[in-house]
């Protein structure tokens, strides 16, 4: 594989974080200590650096706050190229930095679709020149995301694509999906699939009582599960590496658990929205809560949370999906799906920790080392010699989300005016501070 285009590493002065609570799910570390950054890499870490800064180093006193690997967000939609009025790689990266996210994986649903080597190259060059955080490219698995002809998986992977997705749509043609999985296996390429049978999901919210009361067409859970079950059969046949992008219900979870029990190369993710919100939040047709898959019932949310806690769900994503007023301020059924989430990802995930549903380490695992391993990245861990992608956060600091202060170019957050507990204090990418909380939110 060709070397990805990387951000220049900072050289010169060492930086040391002292008095930190080091949490690294990859090594089960959760202890007071310090961490030394040199030349963009983690040079040393541990309890011995808790109070002792090496001479000449730039000292950052963490005051007991959590220092963890920077978050890796495996599903981010931007608008570049094609919909720059919604989001660019630059604005998305600023939102990511403010949210403690040091690597974003951008999805191919752009205009043009990222289905050619030249476009992967374009994304990487634009990111290198404009983005604050690492940007990885998820390329399209079928040309134009049409689900008919597979893309140049071998050449795209060599160009730096870290996975292959059909974006927000499923590949309906079973034969094409089988061929993609077979072909991808020859290149050890990861296939990431949005699982939703289009014939069963023409509605606009979760099928059930709320949809019935609101008079909205429903999307039943089976639309998701049926496609996932089909895919697992194809994985069983072909042996291709498969990741279900975002599941949302117990039934889908059962499918993934069965596949894992058979030792199939199957994993799954869940969006932060499906861990923290449910269909009741839609209330009076709030379109900022309209997304794919749709928000489900509370018991589904609880099942998803438990599955992250016990490791059945591998990855949490923001599924950051910027939409502007044009597409969101419409009658519910006509409004676009999607919610921004990069900046609120960590704070929202901390809700699950504060509620006692999971440990801090379990939550961070699904946002650091698990996505790193899935995507074959060397980041996502605190280890000597690893890249210094770090997030320093205060897990207890209360704040209220104000959508107008979001760095994302689009403001479609479902967390507007939500009370959060826990905020990012500093984000470091390859040894360089890309975000620092000033004490008061900018206006």
């Amino acid at each position: 594989m060709r070397k990805p285009i990387e951000k220049p590493k900072s050289l010169g002065t060492a930086t040391v974080f002292i008095n930190a609570r080091l949490i690294d799910p990859a090594s089960n570390r959760d202890e007071p200590g310090g961490l030394l950054v040199k030349d963009g890499m983690i040079a040393d870490l541990g309890a011995h650096l808790r109070r002792n800064a090496p001479e000449g180093a730039n000292v950052i006193d963490c005051k007991g706050n959590v220092l963890a690997p920077g978050l890796i967000d495996a599903q981010v939609f931007t608008g570049e190229p094609g919909y720059e009025h919604r989001e660019t790689l630059k604005t998305a990266s600023h939102a990511a930095a403010a949210g403690g996210v040091t690597t974003i994986v951008v999805m191919p649903d752009t205009n043009p679709v990222i289905d050619q080597v030249a476009l992967v190259d374009f994304i990487q060059r634009r990111a290198r020149d404009n983005a604050l955080v690492h940007v990885q490219t998820m390329a399209a698995m079928t040309k134009g995301l049409q689900g008919e002809e597979m893309t140049e998986i071998g050449l795209l992977k060599r160009a730096g694509a870290i996975g292959f997705s059909n974006g927000k749509s499923s590949v309906i043609n079973t034969r094409v999906m089988r061929n993609v999985l077979s072909y991808a296996k020859d290149f050890n390429a990861l296939v990431v699939h949005h699982t939703e049978d289009p014939y069963l999901s023409s509605g606009s919210m979760n099928s059930g009582e709320v949809a019935s009361r609101l008079g909205l067409p429903g999307i039943s859970k089976i639309a998701e599960t049926i496609m996932l079950e089909r895919d697992v059969r194809l994985v069983e046949m072909t042996g291709g590496r498969y990741h279900a992008a975002t599941i949302s219900c117990q039934e889908s979870l059962d499918v993934v658990k069965n596949a894992k029990a058979k030792m199939l190369p199957v994993s799954c993710g869940v969006s932060i929205n499906h861990l923290t919100l449910n269909e009741n939040d839609i209330g009076p047709y709030r379109t900022f809560f309209k997304m794919r898959p749709p928000l489900r019932k509370e018991e589904d949310r609880v099942a998803m949370v438990q599955a992250v806690a016990n490791g059945d769900i591998d990855v949490i994503v923001s599924s950051h999906d910027p939409q502007d007023a044009d597409t969101k301020r419409r009658p519910f059924a006509e409004a676009a799906d999607g919610a921004v989430g990069l900046e609120t990802l960590l704070s929202a995930a901390l809700r699950l920790v504060h509620s006692g549903d999971m440990t801090l380490s379990a939550m961070l695992k699904a946002l650091t080392i698990n996505p790193a391993r899935l995507l074959g990245l060397h980041s996502g861990r605190l280890a000597k010699g690893s890249i210094a992608d770090l997030v320093l956060f205060d897990p207890g600091e209360p704040w209220v989300v104000n959508k107008d202060l979001l760095r994302s170019r689009s403001k479609n957050t479902p967390f507007d005016e939500a009370k959060m507990q826990g905020r990012v204090l500093r984000t470091m990418v390859a040894g360089q501070t890309v975000y620092e909380y000033a004490g008061v939110e900018r206006t």
Binding site: E148, M150, E152, L155, N179, S182, Y183, K185, D186
Partner: protein, 324 residues
């Protein structure tokens, strides 16, 4: 020579039809190759046509378009003094809706001696052979078999390398849709060669190792140290879904270029059954390289088809009187 080899044929090659290479013994194959070898030398020495099949009628019945195979069979028949008739299927009753079996029965009523058949459906030639009294030669049926191609490939290898047993042969490309690959696997295995198959999984038939081959999805590894690199044509017309994303990607990973060829043995030979897609499965300069025996393959085609016609003619009724 004629009558002697024909008498031998009755013993060594006791078949009325040549429909498949599956089940051909090394003895049978070598008998045909020896016969073909003599034919090849005879032709090279500007030998005149022989009269082995004088007064015999051969029908070339091609349901699928072909230039080289049809011409090669026609040439072979004429070099043996047979009367060769080419049936142009485009103008035949087939396009008027006649079934394959009715066509066979109709032709049979005209009492030809040998019918050479190519058909787009696997098994069609065998079906036809059950309905006629004459000998039938399979000139390619679907993705099933193309026996004379495998025999001419074997002859080309044998003449260039002096032997086939113990050689390692890599067959690369669209194996899923290739009758040439299937016939070659049978012949090469029968003669004691080691066969490797190289293709992306999407162009590999299922359970390929059960065919008696080593299987590679990485051409760089599969071509390592082989004696023969046999490239196949990417059969786009047989692809009904997305098996490979593009010819560019296919060439990059599965096309034969000088870099990949350098991993084979230094004296490795390059083969291709034709027609070639230059820049898709084979680089133009490799196709024209001194290691390429692609032209010899065409030359051996006539010699091998003569041998097959000759061997089968031994079973024609009335042969005994001829020999006397």
């Amino acid at each position: 020579m004629t009558s002697k080899s024909n008498t031998n044929a009755l013993k060594v090659f006791p078949r009325r039809h040549l429909l498949t290479c599956e089940g051909l013994s090394a003895n049978e194959i070598n008998f045909l190759l020896d016969l073909a070898d003599k034919n090849a030398d005879h032709i090279r020495n500007n030998g005149r046509k022989r009269d082995v099949l004088a007064g015999r009628t051969i029908i070339n019945l091609f349901f699928e378009s072909s230039t080289r195979t049809q011409a090669s069979f026609e040439m072979a028949g004429k070099r043996l003094s047979a009367d060769v008739m080419n049936m142009n299927v485009a103008t035949s009753s087939v396009t008027k809706g006649e079934t394959l079996i009715d066509t066979a029965v109709t032709l049979n009523a005209m009492r030809p001696d040998i019918i050479v058949v190519r058909h787009h459906a696997a098994g069609a030639v065998e079906l036809l052979s059950q309905k006629v009294d004459c000998s039938v030669i399979n000139a390619g049926d679907g993705a099933h078999q193309h026996p004379t191609q495998a025999l001419l490939d074997a002859l080309t290898i044998r003449r260039a390398k002096g032997r086939i047993a113990g050689l390692t042969v890599a067959i690369c490309g669209d194996i899923l849709h290739s009758r040439v690959a299937r016939s070659n696997i049978n012949v090469l295995n029968a003669l004691g060669a080691r066969v490797r198959l190289i293709a992306p999984t999407t162009l590999m038939p299922s359970s390929p190792e059960r065919l008696g081959c080593e299987v590679f999805t990485d051409m760089w590894k599969g071509i390592e140290g082989v004696d023969i690199v046999m490239m196949l044509r990417l059969q786009r017309e047989r692809m009904d879904a997305s098996y490979v994303p593009s010819t560019r990607e296919f060439f990059h990973f599965f096309g034969l270029d000088h870099e990949k060829l350098a991993r084979a043995k230094p004296d490795a030979l390059v083969m291709h059954p034709g027609p070639m897609n230059r820049g898709v499965e084979i680089a133009s300069t490799v196709a024209d390289h001194s290691k390429s025996v692609i032209r010899e393959q065409v030359e051996m085609g006539v010699a091998v088809r003569m041998a097959v016609l000759e061997a089968l003619s031994a079973h024609l009724p009335g042969f005994a009187e001829d020999a006397r």
